[in-house]
Symmetry: C2
Subunit: 351 residues, 2 copies
Amino acid sequence: MDDAGMTAAQAAGDAAPRRATMKDVAARAGVGLSTVSRVVSGKGGVAPAKVRAVERAVRDLNFSRNDFAHRLRTGTSATIGMVVTNISDPFFSALVSGVEERARARDQLVLVASVTDDSAEAERVIRRLLQRRLDGLILVAPEDADLRFLQEEQRAGTPVVFVDQPPTGMDADVVVVDNEGGAAAAVRHLHEVGHRRIACFAHVSGRYTSARREAGYYRGLAQAGLPADPALVVSVDDEVDVCTEALLELARLPDPPTAIFSTNGRTTKAILGAQRLLGSRLALIGFDDFDLAVLMDPPTTTIVQDPVAIGRAAADLLFSRIAGRTGPVQHITLATRLVERGSGELVPYRD
Amino acid sequence: MDDAGMTAAQAAGDAAPRRATMKDVAARAGVGLSTVSRVVSGKGGVAPAKVRAVERAVRDLNFSRNDFAHRLRTGTSATIGMVVTNISDPFFSALVSGVEERARARDQLVLVASVTDDSAEAERVIRRLLQRRLDGLILVAPEDADLRFLQEEQRAGTPVVFVDQPPTGMDADVVVVDNEGGAAAAVRHLHEVGHRRIACFAHVSGRYTSARREAGYYRGLAQAGLPADPALVVSVDDEVDVCTEALLELARLPDPPTAIFSTNGRTTKAILGAQRLLGSRLALIGFDDFDLAVLMDPPTTTIVQDPVAIGRAAADLLFSRIAGRTGPVQHITLATRLVERGSGELVPYRD
DNA sequence: TTGAAAGCGCTACCAG
DNA sequence: CTGGTAGCGCTTTCAA
């Protein structure tokens, strides 16, 4: 390559020859400013010869419309915001890709912000996002964020859609999955294959989804005609040791469980790790599918939700609001599906 | 909640009472426009009484500065762009989170665009991104994208950093990992534990990384004093059937391999699936770590790279350019690490 | 310390 | 069909 010896001056472009503006293009093409604007924004109604002249000048000058000026003038942003609590979680990144897919179709850009569970930080980030005059916002709100300012925002004209969990303290469009139904199905399935003592591993952080799924666990028990035993419900997090501890505790029960329902994908993985460590082989069904479930031994049966579809649904909801949809807030609940892989089977318990 | 009966009119905010501008704030606070500007941008040099008056008015009017006007005026964007080929790949989303971490620290926003491998589409998306007058751009470019227009952009003053693979046809800062070294280490490790016939599963799409890793495979063989046998190098993709086929083919060889080196995480998972299907238990080391490697049977030994660190490094490189760093383009190569988990061990081959 | 006024680059309304 | 021109909301001189 002949620019192998390129200097940083070039690389960084510090010569920074002021970017061409429409005025420059107009001058170069020998037409009026408005004509350039018309051509650039594809408005039509311009003489072919002038169109060509402008296009040439645009290319010569490497012109690219200043988006800020354009947005300021038109008052549109062509951007929606998306806030997730952890972009590197596969569930959330799939969510984002569902949203992006829909946004791309509408030629909108997505401004993604990943926030931690620190709700003060989340608020700061969301505020900064909103300053950009987004057309709308999709968010997975951190557990206990104070959403009052968002309500103002909504009232001021920025539609907001919540995903994965409904907001507390405000009303807005929401897309969630049928957490309770999925969990109940898992429990019923375990009952059908012969389990009578089914434990529930719920995630400590009382996140909405865990709570719904725990409720579903109880409903499933009731539907199966099984008694609910508080001793079988444990609070854990994603740590293998914590799950190991819980597993040992359960094993010491006079009437230990033969199966586990886990409310959350990360917890399921931790339980899998703990069981391997312990050589324990309790039946297990987990909420949330994961990549290698099929390669587990036995392959893990899961309640799967489709995060990409959730993202799409949320985006559709948002864009319909942006387009002016009116009417009461909408709550969409997407179905979940039990994918049988064998890990629910009744297997001999061994400590 | 008392707004349970909120109407869509409110939810969508279609009353849309024109957002307050600084002018409104100025009027309300009884001060000049410039004073509001000074207070809002925290410039100082304003009488305390007026500061308070402005702050009150800001709150009353729920004022939020119009970012477009601000950016237009100042010519800054406080935004960097990031283009990845597939946001739902855990590797890429980790990359993004590394970049975001650094951006957040500098109060910059990250505009993320996920593109497919269609290079024409990629170019469109990138152009649209650049129209936003980004301060800089980090990208994982699709294989064969035509990057000439990016070079213009770079020259015009927008620093560009490539990640995961260097650009072809232009010169820019780059962050990659030591693909060749990592692969060679994998092969040497397999040799050390006793393997003499080592296959290489390379990903068909001649992506830069696969090619480097394949080169590393050959280097590793050479370092181990092992002959290179072209029959042992197969091209596969992420499909289990394709890998199954390849495995069967290899097994028919007069002198079949006892171990596999896989150049890519998704391929590794496909091989794992194929081996389970076939009941085959060839030793296996894969480039790229994955979530449940430790739960495989046997646990999968991998060459791990740290995508978050790559993202951080890329962001640092970019921000230093934005800050005016000058000098030749920088190529950063991050080390990889072999994480021994047992899947490399010499085990009896069975068809 | 303060306000008036001149634009940033663009679009949209006019009159021609 | 075309060009001039008045702002979009903000920052930043410049005088006062």
